[in-house]
Symmetry: C2
Subunit: 254 residues, 2 copies
């Protein structure tokens, strides 16, 4: 489908797109997936258009499956970006010229560089499971540490900011971790995740107490060995209880 862009666009909404901030957690840091546009050093978020017979949520899922190789990605719509000149926020002449050189003059005018409203989603994924895959417009797809994210095309820096804000808001009212951590993890690892997202430190004893009070975690009889210290227990989420707690909401009050 991606090989035949014109044909694809005939079956898609042209005035609406969607963009996804894909969060992964790796080496104690939050990372996001970015794409580098062909023949340039301009980066953007993964995104795309909605097919006429497809809901926005389905489109987000389809696009993320293409970019990550994952099938059922945790997705959350958080804001719709409707400014008039969203697509010219980053008007580096040089970059635009390179794009024109690659894709042909005027090629974008009817597709990319027009008035488009974009629905913002964020996704939470297991870092290790992702196979970053570029799309038709790009030739590189890779993780970036949140702190290192460069100036992006369009309004995508603002998108990431808002996505992070929404993720933080979510984290204060719902359990988190199922989609970001591997199946088994230690309590300190879970704590790092919370600390990274909320950008705060917690007392490990109080953290453990609070998380266990949610009744969504199961401590296994295994420990993580190999480090030069006491081996910590491994935990895993009890999916049913976790889902209940997500639905009911829990306030992370620390």
């Amino acid at each position: 489908m991606e090989h035949n862009l014109k044909e694809f666009f005939d079956k898609a909404l042209k005035e609406v797109s969607l963009d996804c901030t894909v969060f992964g957690f790796h080496e104690g840091e939050l990372k996001v997936l970015l794409l580098r546009w062909k023949g340039t050093d301009g980066w953007s978020l993964p995104g795309g258009h909605i097919l006429l017979d497809e809901s926005a949520d389905d489109a987000a899922n389809r696009i993320l499956t293409q970019r990550t190789g994952l099938n059922d990605v945790y997705l959350q719509q958080f804001y719709t970006f409707g400014n008039v000149n969203r697509y010219t926020y980053h008007p580096e002449k040089e970059l635009l010229e390179k794009l024109e050189a690659t894709f042909g003059k005027g090629f974008f005018d009817g597709i990319i560089f027009r008035r488009v409203v974009s629905i913002g989603y964020y996704a939470l994924v297991e870092f290790d499971q992702v196979q970053p895959t570029p799309d038709w417009f790009t030739d590189e797809c890779r993780w970036w540490s949140l702190a290192d994210v460069p100036n992006l095309l369009f309004d995508h820096n603002e998108m990431i900011e808002r996505a992070l804000k929404a993720l933080r808001q979510h984290t204060r009212n719902h359990p988190i971790g199922y989609n970001l951590l591997p199946e088994k993890f230690t309590m300190p690892e879970l704590q790092r995740l919370y600390e990274t997202i909320l950008d705060r430190q917690f007392d490990r004893r109080n953290f453990q107490k609070l998380l266990m009070s949610y009744d969504i975690l199961e401590r296994l009889d295994e420990k993580r060995v190999g480090a030069a210290n006491k081996s910590p227990y491994l935990y895993r989420f009890v999916k049913e209880k976790y889902d209940e707690a997500v639905a009911a909401g829990v306030s992370f009050s620390m």
Copy 2:
């Protein structure tokens, strides 16, 4: 502009619309503004399309000014509705036939009954200040108590539900009232507002203590007279402090 629909649509985004849930507070109840479509008894939320040279927020403001006579309405985008068949959720044959009779067969196909993604906003307004005004498609605009809202056209019942959810969420994390109450109000009136939105009762002594702790209210030397009981003091919001508290966020923890 509304008199020349075709001309308007030539200058607007066709695949994107927006709909507003306008909340007012009157006689201890939350009310929403609804429009009745010409020649039918089908009701919907106020909404419209975005002009090509106008941001989504500006469009929402313009549309609400038209519907309410108010100028700077408090608006909050809360969700974008992107299902494929949003506009046929309410497929009462009889109603559709009436619409065709009024507007001409096939008239809507290119405008209303096509695949459209709709950005949902909610608005908070002072009930008494509103001049409900129908639009080109409708011939009645009036308030409905939340509890009495009928089956609406399109997916608008779902929109109201989600708007209310978003409003509740907002109320738990920010002060509220400036846009919903008249300039001067009593503490019991403010408390009713909170109780109505959150659908819970509060102890009036604790409520007063908490609200005063936010340091956003000023007690006036006036009292509301006329009722068969002790006259309560009047309060008003100190706009600057209120805005600060909105920006910083306060947790309404009762």
